[in-house]
C-alpha cells in the first residue's frame, strides 16, 4: 500500500528522494518501527498458531461458510447504507451553514467513541420490540428483532461515523474554491457535486468506505447485544469466532485468520483502485 503511494508523492514534489526529508528526524524511525511491529507481531503470531493441515476443513465447515457469507452480505449492505446516508451527512456538515452545526457534528461522532455494547443497548431502546419505535414498527409488520436487518442496523450504526469523518475531513481540506468556480460557470449544485466536488475528494471517499466496511465486518458488541446469534441469520464471522473459542480453539484461530485475510484483501483492492483513479 505504501509502495504504490510513494511514487505518486515524489512525482508531485520537487525534492530529491535521496535527501533526508525535512520534517522526518531519524529518531522517528525507532518508535515507528516499534509501532509497526506492535501491529504486525500479533497477526504473524496468529498465523503460527494455525493448524494448517486442517485449515481448509476448519474454514469450510457449514457453520464457518454460513458465517462468512452472512458477514460479507451484511457488511456490504451496511457499507451501501453508510454511503447513501453518510455522503450527504458529510456534505451538510462540511458545507452547510446553520446554527448548531458543530454540536451536530460532535453528536454524529458519538458511536465512534461509544463501546459497541452500549451502542447495542441504545439500538434496542430505539428499534427493539419495547423500544421507542418498536411498537409502531410492529404495527407496520416490521420486526427487526433477531433478524439480519438488525445486524445491518448494528453495523451501520457503528460504521457510519467512520465514513462521515473521513469524507468531511477531505471536503474541508479540498475547500470550496473549485465548487465556486464551477457554479459561476453555470453548473447546478448537483452537477458541481458530481463533476467537481466528489472527484476532488475521491481518495477520502474511498478510504472512508473501506474503513466503514472494515468496521462493519468486525462488528461484534452491538450485534450480539441487539441482534442475537443464530447461524445463517445473525451469527456473523466475529460472533462465530467468539463462540468457537469455547469448544474448538483451532477453529477460532483459523476463522480469525480468515477474517484478517478478508480485511487485508478489501483494503488492498480498494487502495489500488483508489490510487489508479
Amino acid at each position: 500500500m505504501t509502495t504504490t503511494r510513494a511514487p505518486a508523492t515524489s512525482r508531485r514534489t520537487t525534492r530529491d528522494p535521496a535527501e533526508v526529508p525535512a520534517g522526518l528526524p531519524r529518531w522517528a524511525y525507532v518508535p515507528a518501527a516499534a509501532g509497526g511491529l506492535f501491529v504486525l507481531l500479533p497477526l504473524v503470531a496468529l498465523g503460527t498458531r494455525v493448524d494448517w493441515a486442517g485449515y481448509w476443513s476448519l474454514v469450510t465447515s457449514e457453520s464457518s461458510r454460513a458465517a462468512l457469507a452472512l458477514s460479507l452480505q451484511t457488511a456490504t449492505t451496511s457499507t451501501l447504507l453508510c454511503l447513501i446516508l453518510g455522503v450527504p451527512m458529510a456534505l451538510v456538515l462540511a458545507r452547510g451553514r446553520f446554527p448548531g452545526r458543530d454540536l451536530l457534528r460532535s453528536l454524529v461522532l458519538v458511536p465512534l467513541v461509544l463501546p459497541p455494547v452500549v451502542g447495542g443497548i441504545a439500538l434496542l431502546s430505539a428499534f427493539g420490540r419495547r423500544g421507542l419505535l418498536g411498537e409502531s414498527m410492529e404495527v407496520l409488520g416490521l420486526q427487526v428483532a433477531f433478524s439480519t436487518t438488525a445486524v445491518v442496523l448494528a453495523q451501520s450504526f457503528v460504521a457510519l461515523p467512520f465514513l462521515v469523518v473521513s469524507l468531511e475531513g477531505a471536503l474541508r481540506t479540498a475547500g470550496e474554491r473549485y465548487d465556486v468556480v464551477a457554479a459561476s460557470l453555470g453548473a447546478s449544485p448537483t452537477t458541481v457535486l458530481r463533476r467537481v466536488t466528489l472527484p476532488l475528494v475521491w481518495p477520502g471517499l474511498v478510504s472512508g468506505t473501506v474503513l466503514a466496511f472494515a468496521r462493519a465486518l468486525g462488528e461484534f458488541g452491538a450485534t450480539i447485544t441487539f441482534a442475537g446469534s443464530l447461524q445463517g441469520v445473525t451469527r456473523t464471522l466475529p460472533l462465530e469466532v467468539y463462540l468457537q473459542r469455547e469448544t474448538d480453539p483451532d477453529a477460532a484461530v483459523a476463522l480469525s485468520l480468515l477474517l484478517v485475510a478478508v480485511a487485508v484483501a478489501v483494503i488492498g483492492l480498494t487502495h489500488r483502485r483508489g490510487a489508479s483513479r
Binding site: 434496542l124 419495547r130 428483532a145 433477531f146 442475537g228 446469534s229 443464530l230 445473525t234 451469527r235 463462540l243
Partner: protein, 259 residues
C-alpha cells in the same frame, strides 16, 4: 463493618493488590493480617460476597479476597500459578481438570443448580411448560450448545423428545437473560439462580424435565507449596463455612439447591 467497604475491597483485590492494601488500611477492620484468597465461579458472586463478609466478621484479622470469573477462566488462572487458597467452580468438569493436575485437594460438592424458563414480567406469551416453548412463532432465546448452559439445555430438550426453534443461540446465560429482561425475547432458558438474581425484571417458570441436567458446584482447597498449618486450617474453616448451615441457607436463598 457494613457490606459496602467489604464489597469495595473485594473488587479492588481483583484489580490490583496494591489498591486492596490501600483500601484495607482505610476500612474499620482492625489490622487485617491473614488473607484467604477465594476463586469462585461468577454465578456464586452474591452468595460468596455474603459468606466472605460473615467469615471476616467471625474471624478477627482475616481478610477474604474474592476473585470471580467463569469456571474455565479460574481453572486456567490456577494452572498458570495464580495465588488461590480456595476454588469453587460451577461444574465438576472444571474442577476435575485441577484434580488431574494435582493442584487441589479432594473436592466436595456444596450446591446444585438447574435450568428454568425465564419470561418477561407478566408472562405475556403465557408460557407454562417446556412444551409451550416449541411454538415456532415464539421468540425463544437459549444458550449456544457450545457453552455450558447451552449444553444443559440441549441435554434437557433431547431427553424430553421436544424440538425448539430458538431465534437466537446466545454466547452466555447473561446474554439470554438480558434479551428477556429488555422484552426482546418472549422466553429464555437460564438457571434458577439467574432468575433469582434478576429480581423483578423476569419471572421464572420451572419445568419437571430440568432434572435431566443438574449442575453440581464443587469446592476445594488449592494445594500450597509452603506448609503453613495455621493458614491451611483457616482455609478449611472457610470451606466449612460454605458447607455449613449458614452458608447453605444463603445459597438456598439465591436459588441453589443442596447436593
Amino acid at each position: 463493618m457494613t457490606a459496602q467497604p467489604h464489597r469495595a475491597r473485594a473488587t479492588a483485590a481483583l484489580l490490583a493488590a496494591s489498591a486492596a492494601v490501600g483500601l484495607a488500611g482505610c476500612s474499620t477492620d482492625p489490622g487485617a493480617e491473614t488473607t484467604v484468597t477465594v476463586f469462585a465461579a461468577a454465578s456464586l458472586t452474591e452468595a460468596f460476597e455474603q459468606i466472605a463478609h460473615d467469615f471476616e466478621t467471625a474471624h478477627d484479622g482475616v481478610d477474604v479476597r474474592l476473585s470471580l470469573a467463569g469456571s474455565s477462566d479460574l481453572v486456567a488462572q490456577i494452572q498458570q500459578g495464580a495465588p488461590a487458597d480456595v476454588v469453587a467452580s460451577a461444574d465438576t468438569a472444571s474442577m476435575d481438570r485441577l484434580v488431574a493436575d494435582g493442584l487441589v485437594g479432594t473436592p466436595q460438592d456444596f450446591a446444585t443448580n438447574s435450568l428454568e424458563i425465564a419470561v418477561p414480567p407478566g408472562n405475556p406469551a403465557g408460557i407454562a411448560s417446556l412444551e409451550d416453548l416449541t411454538d415456532p412463532d415464539l421468540h425463544l432465546v437459549v444458550c449456544a450448545p457450545q457453552v455450558p448452559c447451552g449444553a444443559a439445555t440441549t441435554a434437557v430438550v433431547s431427553d424430553s423428545g421436544l424440538t425448539l426453534h430458538p431465534v437466537s443461540e446466545e454466547q452466555s446465560v447473561t446474554d439470554v437473560l438480558h434479551k428477556v429482561v429488555v422484552g426482546e425475547a418472549d422466553a429464555g432458558i437460564v438457571y434458577v439462580t439467574d432468575v433469582a438474581r434478576a429480581g423483578p425484571g423476569v419471572e421464572g417458570v420451572s419445568f419437571p424435565q430440568a432434572g435431566a441436567a443438574v449442575n453440581t458446584y464443587p469446592i476445594a482447597a488449592v494445594t500450597q507449596t509452603d506448609a503453613d498449618t495455621d493458614h491451611a486450617a483457616l482455609v478449611q474453616q472457610f470451606i466449612d463455612a460454605v458447607q455449613g448451615p449458614e452458608g447453605q441457607r444463603l445459597l438456598a436463598d439465591l436459588g441453589f439447591v443442596a447436593p
